[in-house]
Amino acid sequence: MLRRLLISTLELVAVLFLVSLGVFLLLSLVPGDPAVALLGEGRTPQEYEAMREQLGLNQPLLSRYGDWLGGVLTGDLGTSLVPPQTEVLDRILSALPVSLELAVLGLVMALVIALPLAMWSAYHQGGRADRVISAATFGLLSMPSFLLGIVLIAVLVNALGIFPRNEWVRLGDGIGGNLQHAFLPALTIALMEAAMFTRILRNDLVTTLNEDYILAARARGMSPLRIMVSDALRPSSFSLVTILGLSIGRLVGSTVIVEYLFALPGMGKLVIDAANQGNYPVVQGAVLVIALIYVASNRLIDGSYGYLDPRTRRARA
């Protein structure tokens, strides 16, 4: 067990190392001179040279990577090239809570939508409700998240006027205002995930409902709702947990797009703006942080199978 843990940790470190190397090398290929980008046009060659010296651009690539990695390990991700020239780490730390809030809120809303739908659908398997839900979720899955966001804005904001579309309110400045503004972006994220979750959970529930012990419970006169919630749901939720792990990548992607669409100051907006401005230290830092969170949460979910399903515990040990 300990050996397994050690190997998987080593692999994790190797993966993160490769990611950092990849991100660094990739963005060193950016066309254009960072010194010019930083100082603007029309300075003397000496000034540009001094700035290149200051940024360490005159050193060989490998030693620059070493410096950068050393900085990363001590929590220094460099300075933004575009004004305001703040620390990259500060930028990331102020953007990260927005994205995390959206992602968590979206995930919770997705589960709140998906669980009842899946149970309803599985209980009336093959019936009208089941077919309508199956068709609707399939349609939703063919909807790119930015399209879904646009549709929601067009319907809920422009046509019905239910939601305001203005500035983001930070969680610290009042939870009511924050939730009011986070609701629609989170709903956009949630609907995509909910469609996936509903389909997966429904299929597993249908299998579980055919088991003998469910028949026994039914014969004893237990109510359908009670059978669903207390007998069928838990053994049917393993695929859902697997999908939960896989969906984090998609979640990051849709969070990025939703932030751009709703102009929210999160990681997505940070990366996209930096990418459009060629502000490579910000892109490097943000991609590294996102990859770290992504890989770590996937490992966490991998590790949680043992707790959820005792059968995998023995197989792995």
Binding site: V15, G22, L26, L27, F146, L147, G253, I257, V283, V287
Partner: protein
């Protein structure tokens, strides 16, 4: 997908009698909702959707009556749409389409012309023809996705097969590299690549192919490992077949179908990815049209004034992704039992 209701056998006459009126009424409702000015937009949209759904249900019944068995009309409609859009995309340069990307010539054309006023689907803010842009956009979007899938399937499939066949250190290294590619969420990887690459069809296709490679490697590797343990491979090996021959004649034919099924699903994933990238302004740049940057034209209040600017590319994008998803699901259910459950 909208599985035909097989619980009761209906006589042909009943089917025709309920199906035909439903089809006609649905089409009429959709047509009326599309053109009328009487009710507000949101109600029109709902009526349009209801009309289309009713027409599809009616068509299903009519097809059932005509063919004598339940027909998956949605699948056939999807295939029909794909045939239309692919055909139009391929033939675009030779079709009598309006001006799609010449902003200078657009100066003399009316801007934001309503659909119908001499332009089938109206014009955008540069006086470019929206219908023509949608078709040329299909050309770009589908070309990029197909190129990327081609590269991804070939490279990923081969690497996965070899890695699953030889195992050992090679396998472990391939695993670490593909895990590293998977360690960055897809869209973030694309944005990072977008910072560096010039936004041309070729480099976007290259960037997108990087997204498909890891999952292709995984699928090909997993299938190879299963196949390599089968008796016929052992028999071929006992007969003295070389490793190359084993890979080519015994393993490849058994791995290729699931890999191709995933490729069909990947096409729609990549069309979405390309559209997202162009929507964010990092992908292919206007005036060259793609569905993504056409939808982005509706930002900043344009959509509220001129909904068709956004509706036309959105509908194209949705129908195409939907149809490819439908095809991919059928293909996987048939040839890739391992991942069909998803």
């Amino acid at each position: 997908m909208l599985a035909p209701d097989t619980r009761a056998a209906h006589p042909r006459r009943t089917l025709l009698l309920t199906g035909l009126p439903l089809l006609v009424a649905g089409l009429a409702l959709a047509g009326w909702a599309f053109t009328t000015e009487v009710v507000v937009t949101i109600v029109r949209m709902l009526l349009l959707a209801a009309g289309v759904l009713a027409a599809i249900a009616g068509l299903g019944k009519v097809a059932h009556a005509v063919c004598g068995r339940a027909v998956d009309v949605v699948l056939w409609l999807g295939i029909g749409w794909l045939t239309f859009i692919l055909g139009a995309a391929i033939l675009a340069p030779w079709l009598p389409l309006g001006n799609h990307d010449d902003a200078v010539a657009g100066l003399t054309a009316p801007i934001f012309a309503q659909p119908g006023d001499g332009y089938l689907l109206g014009t955008n803010n540069y006086g470019l023809d929206v219908f023509s842009r949608a078709i040329h956009g299909a050309r770009t979007s589908i070309l990029v996705a197909l190129l990327a899938v081609l590269i991804g399937t070939t490279v990923g499939g081969l690497v996965g097969m070899v890695s699953g066949f030889v195992r050992g250190t090679t396998d472990r290294l391939v695993g670490i590299v593909s895990n590293s590619l998977l360690a960055v969420p897809p869209l973030i990887l694309l944005i990072a690549l977008g910072t560096v690459l010039d936004p041309s069809v070729r480099s976007i296709a290259f960037a997108l192919s990087l997204l498909t490679i890891p999952s292709m490697v995984r699928l090909a590797r997993a299938n190879t490992i299963t196949v390599a343990e089968r008796e016929f491979v052992l028999a071929a090996r006992a007969l003295g077949a070389s490793r190359m021959r084993l890979l080519r004649r015994e393993i490849l034919p058994n791995v290729v179908l699931p890999v191709l099924s995933l490729a069909v699903v990947m096409i729609s994933v990549l069309i979405v990815a390309e559209a997202s990238l162009s929507f964010l302004g990092i992908g292919i740049q206007p005036p060259q049209p793609t569905w993504g940057n056409m939808i982005a034209e509706g930002q900043g209040g344009v959509m509220e004034e001129h909904p068709y600017i956004v509706v036309v590319p959105s509908v194209c994008l949705f129908l195409t992704v939907f149809s490819f998803n439908l095809l991919g699901e059928k293909a996987q259910a048939r040839w890739d039992t391992r991942s069909a459950k998803l």
